[in-house]
């Protein structure tokens, strides 16, 4: 067995195992051996594809952000700005098991990045990206009232906060959606 394998595919396999671990037992449970066990491979193989643990973490975080981005882009079917905004923000909320898992991982990495600034840049980027997109849509819709940048930032913060509360089960899914809709009504006008 030589060159036959696709390295990127292997890395994704391992990163998937890492995600499952992080979501179910926290980032503290992520060790080379645990990831290997979860993926059903040897620790040697993990080391083969990630020379260091940090490299593994960085790759996994990048993968998660990439998936979220990709799902959002697949969303850009013709629609009104308001529908676009709502769709995008609903994409981010943890309303099903896959996105629960992803949000768990993002939360874990958020706490991790608060201490390891090298990882924070990726998170910052994708947030900024989403913020300008939201602001553009708000402008296009002619949303009145507050500045568009500010409203976009507020929406993003709202969704982040709702996500947090959903994760810790303080809140039912439909209540979170209702809170989001209420805010959209305030910004775009009722209905």
């Amino acid at each position: 067995m030589a060159r036959r394998v696709d390295p990127h595919e292997r890395r994704e396999l391992l990163a998937d195992a890492l995600m499952r671990l992080a979501a179910e037992r926290g980032l503290e449970a992520v060790s080379l051996r645990h990831v290997a066990a979860e993926a059903g491979v040897s620790t040697g193989m993990v080391q083969h594809y990630f020379r260091t643990k940090d490299e593994m973490m960085t790759f996994a975080l990048g993968m998660v952000m990439d998936r979220i981005r990709r799902r959002s882009q697949a969303l850009s079917v013709p629609a009104t700005p308001r529908e676009l905004v709502r769709g995008l923000l609903l994409q981010v909320l943890p309303l099903d098991e896959t996105r629960r898992l992803e949000n768990h991982v993002v939360l874990a990495f958020l706490a991790y990045a608060a201490v390891k600034p090298a990882l924070a840049s990726g998170l910052r980027e994708s947030a900024a990206e989403m913020r300008t997109f939201l602001a553009d849509q708000l402008r296009a819709a002619g949303a009145d009232g507050v500045g568009h940048e500010q409203a976009a930032a507020g929406l993003l913060a709202l969704v982040d906060g709702l996500g947090l509360q959903l994760l810790s089960r303080q809140y039912a899914d439909e209540d979170a959606v209702a809170a989001l809709d209420a805010q959209l009504a305030l910004l775009f006008g009722r209905r």
Copy 2:
């Protein structure tokens, strides 16, 4: 030296050291030895006051939540509901070093509690407490539009999200305050 010491005071000393560690180097850096070193005592003493690491973590989290609550209650000088709400929410945002530190710790524990449900209940409680307080104030102010419970939940989520973004330095302090004020204007009416 025997009975002279106040056990609770000692525990707070140790929990303080834990907080500093968690804020500066993350929860992963919190070990019995590190906490002992940071507090300038022996690991034996840490073990004397906390029989297990989990007991130490739980106590520290409780202490942080207590401090936040206490600061909020000290705030209830006569004021209009709107001022009260603004004051309370500004209390929660990480706008100075102490509160940055506290928010860091809360974030770390949030990620931790997402995996250790035993710790989550405390967080849930204090959030619910704050939500009903906010809803009461909104009702008292006769804020129109959306339901009061929903608006309160939205405000809380907004502040949580803003806190997250402030912590990861995605955002300037004054922008966060502006976003909060914009939302208050939407709810209470301009000015």
